[in-house]
Symmetry: C2
């Protein structure tokens, strides 16, 4: 047993962390800056970094050190545990499978872009079949190594420690809730009448400045962040150099604005990770559900609250002008908290969003279990949407072709979105209890009390706690979906006085 | 003996090439995009990439394969030779020396920025002493491995195969030439009277568009390049994704404009490298002197020619307006081909630039030989400037503190600038002989004939030829400094009719 072995391991994981950071910047660059002609070389660069990382993670002396390493603190112990876990997952997969998966995902993703544009599922079907075949093989291999079920083993790669058996009753309960809540929310909404559209125009330059200023006001330091443009908004980069992106529409400022608030939530999480464990496994985020909870607590819980909209309305009016009534917080809440049975997940409101996730969760479990063939996916999708939201997509572009995830080999990711939404509600409830003047602060556009609370109760834990333990530490209990339901009831089912 | 060994080596060097490309993008990002707070993490990322590359290059199985590898074509043979050379240079240096050098350079460079700003040489002196100590040790180690003299071994790292013994007579001859030419050029210039300054204003946005358009017109494809801003202009990125930068002054468009033409020359070289050897040693440029020849043939030889100024003048007038006389090619040539005994190398004209290089070449040889102590550097610098240009810097900021090179561990680089200038003149002479309608094309702002010639006679060789062999292939003879003198005589010593 040896503390020296642990020290050697941290040197190795520091290098792995640095490689990961380099890859993160290169990924960001590919989506924001890279000229088109750089794509092929970039793929080589990223494949090389990934290959080297895989070799380092599976090296024999790494395995030897993992066996004998001992630690002195709880943080070190958590770090070592995460190293063991990463090593186990990496060695579980034969190199040939890893390489075949990378190739198949990349080929499928390329064809998917065309298939989606043409709404032609048949075009991408054989590619997705190949991707699924390899994902099933991967799931089997990870299952054999970890003792998890194959689907759980995949999900574990996105959000450590959460299982389908845990998620299933949560989602089933939500289905019942939705069946009752959705028609009522629609009815209340109809009674209120339609919102006044924001008058515009919304020049991109003005939007950009406003978004950046808001992001900084929320606590994202200019010295440690960038805001750029990309086709699909994301938060990338590294904890000391976080890079968020958005997409500006000159006719609707809400997309960029709310998108930036969302990505700022992700970015604040990255900024709050424990600096003393930078580039170590335990210094990373707790997983994708935890990450989504941080974007949603900022965007959905804080910034779409009545209090914050009361701050945001006048700010927007000063920036864009026109009919003042459009900027009244009540009107903004009708515009930006509008419930709608839509086909597209990324456009969905808080209430119906979980339905989109539940459909995908059921379908991907069936696919990984070999119970749903790719050929039957469009039909099963349509059935799921009809069952949960009472609508049937008119085409596959608005159905099973809409999301990149599966076509890029991402199975087991979708539940993170809704687990994150639920965790956000639960954390916000705890934060409100801990911060008596929260509403006043939000009404002044001041998120400092909330972000300070998140730093201490969420961000600062890094990956030392899993999803459920993180919730326990922050809120005193594991995931409690009733907090999310209570939030939705207050916001969508109780007339105009919702918080 | 084994072709399989060669194939294994190319796989290894392809990975090394990909790591180098990743580092190039990260370096570019650090100078153009990175928020200040990302600096420490970026240093870790780059150090990790460099460390991994060093390990791969010095690995035992690499050495074994280099011993037994055989090749089938001349290109493969050249590639193998470059691998052996890189391996030899990498293994010659103990890891401890490499790491100490990286630390010392980084520490010194940081202090140098402050010392330069304050013109306080004493501040940086101990740091530069440490840097020099390690450079001398490095030079000794490389000398022992390669059989070159210590200084040549350093120079060889920037421009393979060129020795001080070869450079010395070239520079001595230039000193004599300059002694006669400079006063004559000044006299002719004085007779012509002062130029009319360009009227302005020069809004940055307009300059940016103009620079980008010119760069594209010269042949740099938008799909494979970017133009951004940085404190010091450079050409970075990778051959399929070249990234040039510049710095805009709203009072003088010449800096950005001529700077972009210069960097475009570098970029065109990168774009013209043999694609089938991308990320292989033989697919890279032939060295720093060769690279500088390509920036200078575009900027100095082509774009500052009377013919091209005749195209550029009206274009600038359309963009910026004001007194048309300022845009006349004769006035532009007086503005942009002005000879001046100045203190600053990067601001120097074509005629006096080599004097700046010669001073540094002499001083760095003496420092590496242990014949010049750092304490005596400011005095020796002043003497050199007085001897060659008849001026004495009023302070060290305008003296030995002006360039980053030595303070960042760059000894043996400076000669490349003047070798490049000489090679550019020699290549331009050969290109003019091969392209009968060159002047007409330049007069229309058309560099296609020249760039096509450079592609075939310079760029396409990659690193398969060293500096002298490249010149032989392109011009039929090794470096002939008389071509540069002839160019300078025609442009600066023969009245208004210079080409």
């Amino acid at each position: 047993m040896s503390q020296a072995a642990y020290d050697r391991l941290t040197q190795r994981t520091a290098r792995l962390g640095a490689l990961g950071e380099a890859a993160a910047i290169l990924h960001w660059d590919a989506s924001t800056m890279m000229p088109k002609g750089g794509g092929a070389a970039r793929a080589e660069q990223l494949a090389t970094l990934a290959g080297l990382a895989h070799e380092m993670m599976t090296a024999a002396d790494m395995a030897a050190d993992l066996h004998i390493a001992t630690t002195e603190t709880a943080w070190e112990a958590a770090n070592l545990e995460l190293m063991r876990r990463a090593h186990l997952r990496a060695t579980a997969l034969p190199t040939a499978l890893v390489e075949a998966t990378a190739r198949a995902n990349s080929a499928c993703e390329k064809v998917w872009r065309e298939a989606k544009a043409k709404s032609d599922f048949a075009l991408v079907r054989p590619f997705l079949e190949e991707v699924l075949l390899l994902q099933r093989e991967t799931a089997q291999a990870l299952s054999a190594a970890t003792g998890l079920t194959p689907y759980d083993a995949l999900m574990d790669g996105y959000q450590r420690g959460v299982t389908a058996a845990e998620v299933e009753p949560v989602f089933t309960a939500y289905e019942s809730f939705l069946r009752e809540a959705l028609p009522r929310a629609e009815e209340i909404q109809a009674r209120r009448g339609p919102p006044i559209p924001l008058p515009g125009p919304f020049p991109t330059g003005k939007q950009r400045r406003l978004c950046r200023n808001l992001s900084v006001r929320l606590g994202l330091e200019e010295e440690h962040s960038r805001l750029d443009e990309s086709l699909h908004p994301f938060c990338g980069g590294t904890p000391s150099d976080v890079r968020i992106t958005t997409f500006y529409s000159e006719t609707d400022p809400a997309k960029a604005l709310l998108g930036v608030l969302h990505e700022t939530g992700h970015a604040l999480y990255e900024r709050g990770l424990p600096l003393e464990y930078a580039r170590q496994p335990v210094g990373q985020s707790a997983g994708m559900a935890a990450h989504e909870s941080q974007s949603l607590i900022i965007e959905m819980q804080a910034c779409r609250s009545d209090a914050f909209l009361g701050f945001l309305g006048p700010l927007l009016e000063r920036n864009f002008g026109g009919d003042p009534a459009a900027y009244a917080p009540q009107n903004l809440s009708r515009l930006w908290r509008r419930v709608e049975r839509g086909f597209i997940r990324v456009d969905a409101d808080e209430l119906t969003y979980p339905a989109h996730v539940i459909v995908r969760f059921r379908l991907e479990q069936a696919m990984i279990a070999g119970e749903l063939a790719i050929a039957d996916l469009p039909g099963a999708w349509a059935e799921g949407m009809q069952y949960l939201l009472g609508i049937t997509p008119p085409d596959d572009a608005r159905g099973c072709l809409q999301d990149i995830h599966w076509y890029d080999g991402g199975f087991g990711y979708f539940p993170s979105y809704t687990l994150g939404a639920m965790a956000a509600a639960q954390m916000m409830k705890a934060a409100r209890a801990a911060i008596p003047n929260m509403e006043t602060a939000l009404g002044k556009g001041n998120l400092k009390p909330l972000v300070t609370w998140l730093r201490a109760n969420v961000h600062g834990y890094g990956a030392s706690l899993g999803f459920q333990d993180l919730l326990r530490a922050a809120t005193g209990k594991p995931l409690d979906p009733m907090d999310f339901q209570a939030h939705l009831r207050a916001r969508y089912l109780e007339g105009d006085a919702a918080p």
